[in-house]
């Protein structure tokens, strides 16, 4: 029996490169935290860290599922619209003349997310449509429905359950619930992607879809499930946001797609698919979260950050592209 730990030099280099990218990312993260702490006194405060981590959890949950989608070469830009619609629906139902009971709001929200995910999944896997344009359409549909539902106004929702999800902190250790959710979901996704049969199928599809199909993998079903998951995760994020802001409005999460995609790409997932990891996405999400928060603390305003976002996205992809080209 060959010694599995014995790796040839060439192989070791490649493995080291994958690992080192993630390490570098975490290294960058550490440096950034140090720099921002030095530049702004408020940065390293408990309050700020807590807020920052909550924000990170909000977009991180979706980034996790999006990672799986992108590994198979797909994309989901309807997540923002999904979040908006979820928050509008929840707020709407809660404020009806005969209000929907609070405990029912969560399953309803998740069901909505599943429905949106299934909608995407159907068109992308059954009709083989371009994922980018399809989810662009879904984004319009969902956000539009949010506007219809709320007649473009914000609906207040002061409620225990959503408040619990969005704002509560576990007493004693003072950890916000969203962070717990984020950690749990990421742990699950990590397990799924790296240790489960399903996760292996995801990687196979990403590496060579034709070979995966010939090998008997139900490519259609796997992709469908991934879009389903993405939809549910977005709804969950929507619940968190609603809880945090205590408001359901159709303008929620505008432009969030860009953040999430940038985080996933930063973490090393390739746009064409095949490569990617949850750990990498974690690093990406953390880095971006710290970056935006840090910038705000220093005094940059939203508009500056927005400009930076666009540049960052292009730079990240360019860097990875150049690195891959050098390797060949």
């Amino acid at each position: 029996m060959a010694d599995i730990l014995h790796i040839q030099p060439g192989q070791a280099l490649k493995r080291r490169t994958r690992l080192s990218t993630t390490l570098i990312l975490f290294g960058v993260l550490a440096v950034m935290v140090a720099v921002f702490s030095a530049l702004s006194r408020d940065f390293y405060s408990f309050q700020n860290i807590s807020t920052m981590l909550t924000n990170i959890s909000f977009s991180g949950i979706v980034a996790g599922t999006l990672t799986l989608v992108m590994i198979t070469g797909g994309l989901d830009i309807s997540i923002g619209g999904n979040i908006a619609l979820t928050s509008c629906l929840v707020a709407y139902l809660f404020n009806l003349a005969h209000p929907v009971p609070a405990w029912a709001l969560i399953p309803i929200a998740l069901a909505l997310g599943a429905a949106i995910g299934a909608f995407n999944g159907f068109f992308i896997t059954r009709l083989d449509l371009n994922p980018i344009i399809t989810t662009l359409g879904t984004m319009a549909v969902t956000r539009g429905l949010g506007y219809v539902l709320t007649k473009a106004r914000s609906i207040l929702i002061m409620e225990d359950v959503t408040g619990f999800i969005g704002r509560t902190v576990i007493p004693g250790i003072q950890i916000p619930i969203p962070l717990v959710l984020f950690a749990v979901i990421f742990a699950i996704l990590f397990f799924v992607l790296s240790r489960s049969k399903f996760g292996r199928k995801v990687y196979c599809i990403g590496a060579n879809q034709a070979a995966a199909r010939v090998s008997g993998i139900n490519v259609r079903r796997v992709k469908f499930v991934l879009y389903l998951m993405s939809g549910i995760a977005a709804s969950l994020s929507g619940l968190i946001l609603t809880g945090q802001t205590a408001v359901g409005m159709p303008q929620h999460a505008r432009g969030m797609e860009l953040d999430v995609i940038t985080a996933v790409l930063l973490g090393g997932t390739a746009l064409a698919g095949g490569k990617g990891s949850i750990l990498g996405t974690l690093a990406g999400v953390l880095i971006l979260g710290v970056l935006y928060n840090g910038f705000t603390m220093i005094g940059f305003r939203y508009v500056h950050i927005s400009v930076f976002q666009g540049v960052l996205l292009i730079m990240i992809v360019a860097l990875y592209e150049l690195r891959d080209r050098k390797k060949n």
Binding site: H6, Q8, V214
Partner: protein, 495 residues
């Protein structure tokens, strides 16, 4: 004596491990059709690639109209008036015939510089007319049949002032009528002084259209004969005339029950009522030329393509094959012809590739049992003699032969009993070939059955217990091993 249009003298070319061409000389005269025949691997495509400027010959020279030329790139050949018509047609399907013909240099009105469609269509019409081609220049190319597209490619070549036309298996996808129509065009070209090199496996057609035929075998030129004075038998024996070398004759093994029964399998326009059966312990070969439909049969049996009529029964039970998963569920495994396209994920490690078709069974529940996977991968690496530094090595680091073995291991891991193999030893070295034959034999000994497509006659004759010949979508003959000969097989493809 008149200078030949083209002369290739003493061409030799070696690749690592194989002498593709050894001292081959051919010549082509103006206004003649020269057939180039030979088996797979005889060196035809290498010779053509050298002519096209894709490869450079190790030794030898090329002369055009008596002048020595040196092709350094594909555009050099075109500049000398040589045009190639390959099997993969390169057309602009959303545009018209006229536009395809004139792409890049559409005629414009002198004053304004605007495209003159009237002139374009007229030019195209003229070109097509001189070749006796009946095609409306305003038709969208995407609407044309394969034959018409091919004809268009030829027209394009002539329009580029080709004096030498090289056609690689032009009739592979054509029916009888279209073939005759193509030949009419070729004869027309002959009259205009164009020289045509016609590469084909279809010997009947070679007799139909060529003036002379050059036979290649194992990288050497055997002879060039006048077609009118040659016979089919003569050609065939020149093509295969070697001694059937020590390949790897499959041992005669006990044949058991019927594993697979195929009845009247039909795909409209492609294959017509193909029937055969496969029994435990035997290897059935499907032999046919390019475009005969043999691959369509295999792909339909594995559920990769649909079929329009027919019955399939596995171990006596009629079944419907619903895609690869359905096939695997019925104990049918498939080895694709192109391992890079459909067989392997090159970016994944060896172990992941080996287990790809059996993921659900490696471990209980949701989790993939990685230890079990490593054990299985290691087992197969040993059993199938895959040379790899480690099971975690990425598949693209391995040689072609070892990559093919990975695909085989993947099939074995599924525990299938019926194996559909599409050119199992394509593009791999002799050592690996022998290993694969060995494995195939073991499988049969264990009671499995194999349906094998191979275009290498010696391989087919030594490995298959029974050989079914398919031509133009129909079964034309069936031979058992004792009675089969290369000549009979090739002859059956002409029926």
């Amino acid at each position: 004596m008149e200078q030949p249009l083209l002369e290739m003298r003493n061409i030799s070319k070696q690749f690592p491990g194989v002498q593709a061409l050894k001292d081959v000389s051919i010549d082509l005269r103006a206004g003649e059709v020269l057939g180039l025949v030979g088996e797979n691997g005889a060196g035809k495509s290498t010779l053509i690639k050298i002519l096209a400027g894709d490869y450079r010959a190790d030794t030898g020279e090329i002369f055009i109209n008596g002048r020595k030329v040196d092709f350094r790139s594909p555009s050099d050949a075109a500049a000398m008036g040589i045009q190639f018509i390959y099997q993969e047609l390169i057309t602009l399907d959303t545009l018209t015939v006229a536009e395809n013909l004139l792409v890049g240099h559409l005629p414009t009105r002198k004053m304004i510089g605007m495209v003159d469609w009237k002139a374009a269509n007229e030019n195209a019409r003229q070109v097509l007319e001189t070749m006796n081609i009946d095609l409306d220049p305003r038709t969208i190319v995407g609407d044309l049949t394969v034959h018409q597209k091919q004809v268009l490619e030829i027209a394009k070549a002539i329009h580029k002032k080709a004096t030498i036309l090289v056609m690689d298996e032009p009739t592979a996808a054509l029916g009888e009528e279209d073939t005759q129509s193509l030949f009419a065009i070729i004869r027309n070209l002959k009259e205009q002084g164009v020289g045509v090199i016609h590469i084909s496996h279809r010997l009947k057609e070679v007799f139909d259209i060529t003036d002379r035929v050059t036979v290649l075998r194992d990288g050497q030129k055997i002879d060039t004969v006048q077609t009118s004075q040659a016979t089919m038998t003569q050609l065939i024996s020149m093509m295969v005339g070697r001694e059937l070398a020590e390949f790897y004759p499959k041992r005669d093994l006990p044949i058991g029950d019927t594993l697979l029964e195929v009845g009247d399998l039909t795909i409209n326009g492609i294959i017509d009522r193909v029937s055969f059966s496969l029994r435990s312990g035997e290897i059935v070969g499907l032999f046919g030329l390019l475009g005969s439909g043999r691959m369509n049969v295999l792909r339909a049996l594995y559920g990769l393509d649909g079929y329009d009529a027919g019955r399939v029964a596995v171990k006596g039970t009629p079944t419907i094959i619903n895609g690869p998963r359905g096939a695997l569920g019925n104990g049918i495994g498939y080895m694709p012809i192109d391992r890079k396209l459909e067989g392997l994920a090159l970016g994944l490690p060896v172990s992941s590739n080996i287990t790809m078709a059996n993921i659900d069974n490696i471990g209980r529940g949701f989790a993939l049992n990685r230890r079990l996977e490593r054990e299985k991968a290691q087992k197969w690496v040993n059993d199938v003699s895959i040379r790899t530094p480690d099971i975690a090595t990425d598949a693209n680091s391995l040689s072609g032969g070892n990559q093919q073995k990975i695909v085989l291991a993947k099939l074995l891991e599924t525990g299938s009993k019926i194996f559909l193999m599409n050119e199992p030893t394509r593009g791999i070295d002799v050592g690996a070939k022998v290993d694969i034959y060995h494995m195939m034999e073991n499988l049969c000994e264990a009671g499995a059955g194999i349906v094998m497509i191979s275009s290498e006659l010696p391989e087919m004759l030594s490995m298959a217990d029974r050989i079914i010949v398919i031509a133009k979508g129909k079964v034309t003959a069936e031979f058992n091993r004792a009675e089969a000969t290369q000549e009979k097989l090739l002859h059956a493809t002409t029926l």
